[in-house]
Amino acid sequence: MLDAVHLTKRYASFPAVQDLSFTLRPGQVLGCLGPNGSGKSTTVKMLTGLLQPTRGTVQFDGHNIQEDLAAYRKLLGYVPEEPHLYPYLTGWEYLELIGTLRGIERRDLAKKVDSLLELFSLHPNRHSSIGSYSKGMRQRILLIAAIMDDPEIFIFDEPLSGLDVTSALIFKNLVQALGQQGKLVFYCSHVLEVVEKVCSDVLILRKGIVIAQDSVANIGQILGQSLENTFLHLVEDVDTMSVARDIVSVMQTKAA
């Protein structure tokens, strides 16, 4: 069980996340929604141990993750928002490196990497350098790197960016399968439809504060509308239709 206990992160005096608490149970797929600057990425970085919270703790099975970060990270599969890979390594070399650093047995590693590359349709490009990969291919490499050691906790930060339709569909089904396997999945995204489809629960952030936290079904029922409308109702103070009309009118304006 992963617990975020009163997490607060301040950058100088600016509070990025304030008093965030939630529990992620085995089998649960928790979606994290919020507009830009709402503190999603900061939350993810605190959950992965990349950032230390200013106040509060992240606990796994009752222990503060900062006490033994290496052991915690052994159980963690993390897909960051941006695929900052090593462009001079090939896809195979990168995965072999990550597998070695994660301590996967060598005889299992080669087999696992080959199978996953095949399943993610990257096998023909395995010996090309990552510098020549498209964004979607890099994202798939990151996904393989995150899942190859069969971790207990998965943290996905915008994992679908750049993925083509087929890969995205495979990934959505994969997330659901991971949930069914009893894994803990924290899924951060802007894409409401995906969160609605793959997540069992949802956490909505606004300006670093949790404004809603419940199961996807309950949130919709409480407000009697879809997740998209609920999100707009809770988070955005703007009339999106009116803004769209204004944009079109500015586009069509011509100098006299």
Binding site: Q52, A70, R73, H84, Y86, P87, Y88, I98, T100
Partner: protein, 425 residues
């Protein structure tokens, strides 16, 4: 039998190379040669082999050109007889020293962005089950490997060809061996010095400047370093002649290439008083540069990679530096009107090295404590008694030293014995 032993050794090496730490060292070596910067696109990849070949060319090329000067037939045609090769070789020795320093320094400037772990390493390695300390040491090993490789490569050709050219007139093989060994020591140490000097500059800038300012001004600093290296190379035309003058210019003590020339000539037993004095600075200078580079590396790594709150961390580092500087300066006190500034004594050098080591230890051992203390400043108060004790000891020692000096020099109240004998009148 030998083949089997070699195969076994190769297998063992391959096995070691696949261990996580050494796999990371390989990654960092590859990054230093082929990566760097935050761009995701592939840069101009020359390949390690080609880079090493290009670096080795100048030394070999210049050595071959020197055949014109040392060839016995050409000397005979010029009417030069009884030439002392060790005397004639001094300007060329100096040239090879500055060449090795310039080329190695240029490599460090070229790979400026790739020497330290960057954002890509942070994003890829920190979420893995390896400690940041392991990443620190793996990168350090990669940097040390790079220094050794570049120093050996840049000077490889000159270490063989130059002694062969100079010793062409000599009948004894021992002359060649001695000359080659001394030349190799001089140029290799000069190379290592140049690399760590540039490394120190990068590290200190990263430790002092905010990350954004460092990235913004990085190219300007690189430009300044390149100008200094070119100036050093150009000094090869004038410095050897100036060093032969009596008295030799005092500024030579500020030029590291002169220290290594002095070292070479001292090892050959052909150094004048000035070169002997200069040679004494070579090894301490090298040790100080390496010490400063390692400290700067530790501090900048902690700041940029472990990501501690920058402002507060800088304050702590400054306070620590002031304290260590105080401890060092206790040894360097000048006693007014009685003697000049004491020379760089052996025990003072040990103190300096101890301080560098202390700084390294501090940088390595305090990140977790600093992070937690900075997150909750009340915890910082627990440091206060220790800080007070650490401030009081050097302060007290300095005060005692002042008291001794005052008594020695300004003895205004004569002692009872002097009064009794009426000697003070």
């Amino acid at each position: 039998m030998i083949t089997e032993a070699l195969d076994a050794a190769c297998c063992k090496l391959e096995e070691i190379g696949k261990r996580p730490f050494w796999r990371m060292v390989q990654l960092f070596v590859a990054r230093i040669f082929r990566g760097g910067g935050d761009a995701d696109a592939e840069g101009l990849d020359l390949g390690i082999g080609l880079v090493l070949t290009l670096l080795a060319i100048p030394g070999g090329f210049v050595s071959i050109l020197l055949l014109n000067k040392y060839g016995t037939f050409l000397q005979w045609l010029r009417g030069q007889t009884n030439v002392d090769p060790l005397l004639v070789a001094l300007p060329d020795e100096y040239f090879f020293i500055v060449l090795s320093m310039t080329v190695t320094g240029a490599v460090a400037v070229w790979r400026w962005d790739a020497i330290f772990p960057d954002r890509r390493d942070y994003m890829n390695l920190v979420p893995l089950p390896i400690s940041t300390r392991t990443i620190f040491f793996a990168n350090l090993v990669a940097v040390l490997f790079l220094v050794g490789l570049v120093a050996a490569d840049v000077n490889a050709a000159s270490c063989i060809l130059f002694p062969m050219v100079v010793g062409a007139t000599q009948t004894k093989f021992l002359f060649f061996v001695k000359f080659a060994v001394v030349h190799a020591i001089g140029v290799l140490l000069a190379s290592v010095f140049a690399f760590f000097a540039v490394f120190s500059i990068i590290g200190l800038l990263m430790a002092v400047l905010p990350p954004r300012a460092f990235r913004r001004f990085s190219s300007y600093f690189r430009g300044v370093v390149v100008i200094c290296l070119v100036a050093l190379l150009c000094s090869s035309f004038a410095v050897p002649t100036l060093l032969r003058r009596v008295p030799a210019p005092r500024w030579a003590f500020l030029v590291p290439s002169c220290w290594f020339l002095g070292l070479c000539q001292s090892l050959r037993g052909r150094a004048g008083p000035m070169l002997v004095e200069l040679s004494k600075l070579a090894l301490p200078g090298l040790a100080v540069v390496v010490g400063v580079a390692l400290c700067a590396y530790a501090v900048s790594y902690q700041r940029h990679f472990v990501r501690i709150v920058a402002g507060s961390h800088t304050l702590l580092v400054v306070a620590w530096t002031v304290l260590l500087t105080n401890i060092i300066l206790i040894r360097f006190r000048k006693i007014p009107f009685t003697c000049t500034l004491p020379l760089f004594k052996q025990h003072s050098f040990v103190t300096l090295l101890s301080c560098c080591f202390g700084f390294l230890l501090y940088a390595m051992s305090t990140p977790e404590f600093e992070s937690s203390a900075l997150a909750e400043p009340v915890r910082m108060l627990s440091l206060a008694p220790a800080a007070l004790v650490m401030w009081y000891i050097p302060h007290h020692l300095a005060k005692s030293a002042n008291e001794i000096e005052r008594r020695l020099i300004f003895e205004e109240s004569p002692t009872q014995t002097i009064e009794a004998l009426r000697l003070s009148a």
